[in-house]
């Protein structure tokens, strides 16, 4: 019998099992950042407006794929659960969604900042003061993911936040100083998260075999 001793622990266990156990959430996050890493390249091809449309289309496809895969692969294994819509839960959900939106908003602001827009001519190298937005992104992502990691007791989220924030800073630095249009550090960070998600999925499939009979 597992050691479920208090209400918070049970709430955390339910969230862990329904959201983070199968690795699909990690794979979605990794794929989003891999896609973001080619943001400058696709903007040169499609223009700023077309690129933003492409970003949201790909994001929609990835989220849909994650939901479909989760329904096909995870639900038959871990079972079906319907969340309780208590006022407290709705507040936590609204706060989380708000924080995610702010973080992604700041991240998009980074890509739309003057240094990032002028991709045809490599911008002048700049000092630490030229990276204020990237430092804010680093703090916002590190803080948001650390908070989520703490609340849900999912330790790898600490790594994700600081790694993505640092990768974003490194990507913009490389772009400003060496003219890199492909944001390689961000792609590597996304790839690492994707790989961790895949390994979690393999472990999940081993730990939760398909039940022959549903009770």
């Amino acid at each position: 019998m597992s050691e479920l001793t208090d209400f918070r622990q049970i709430q955390r266990r339910i969230t862990q099992l329904t959201t983070f156990e199968d690795g699909f959430w990690d794979m979605l996050l990794g794929a989003i950042f891999i896609h973001l890493s080619s943001y400058n390249l696709t903007r040169e091809l499609l223009g700023p407006g077309g690129n933003l449309v492409l970003y949201f289309v790909v994001l929609g496809l990835l989220v849909t794929a994650q939901l479909v895969l989760r329904n096909l692969v995870s639900v038959p294994r871990i079972g079906h659960v319907k969340a309780r819509r208590s006022p407290k839960m709705l507040l936590v959900l609204a706060l989380t969604a708000g924080m995610v939106l702010v973080t992604f908003g700041v991240l998009l602001l980074t890509f739309l900042s003057p240094g990032a827009v002028q991709t045809q001519v490599p911008p002048e190298p700049s000092g630490p003061r030229g990276y204020l937005v990237e430092f804010i992104v680093l703090l916002a992502m590190g803080g948001l993911f650390s908070l989520m990691g703490y609340l849900f007791q999912v330790r790898r989220l600490y790594l994700y936040g600081w790694m993505l924030g640092t990768a974003n800073l490194a990507s913009i630095y490389m772009e400003h100083n060496y003219g890199w249009t492909f944001l390689l550090p961000l792609a590597i960070a996304g790839g690492v998260i994707l790989l961790i998600g895949f390994l979690r999925l393999v472990r999940f499939l081993q730990a939760y075999p398909l039940r022959l009979e549903q009770r």
Partner: protein, 106 residues
């Protein structure tokens, strides 16, 4: 007689149906969700199918849990939900135990 004595005496009247560890675990999981199926409860509580079934029957008989048999596609699915009586029983249990053990110092 102090307040502590009265809180302590309440422990003797605690709902024994809720107090049993496996059943308490089931009730606590269901308290936190709208509904869950049998597979999910097995995974969270790590109880065996037989053990879980037996405890669920007792909780259903007491009116604490509602059991709904249905189908997910072609596969049978048992959906479980805490009733209002069950929710009140868990709240009462939390309150009694909280009062009695809240000020306990090691």
């Amino acid at each position: 007689m102090g307040e502590f004595d009265s809180d302590l005496r309440e422990l003797g009247e605690v709902d024994r149906l809720v107090h049993e560890p496996a059943r308490l675990m089931i009730l606590m999981v269901l308290y936190n969700v709208d509904s869950a199926d049998f597979t999910f409860l097995t995974n969270v509580t790590e109880l065996t199918d037989g053990n879980l079934s037996s405890h669920l029957s007792k909780l259903e008989a007491a009116g604490y849990v509602e059991i709904e048999k249905g189908y997910a596609g072609k596969k049978p699915r048992t959906t479980l939900r805490l009733t209002e009586t069950g929710r009140q029983a868990v709240d009462a249990y939390r309150s009694t135990m909280g009062k009695a053990l809240g000020n306990l110092k090691g």
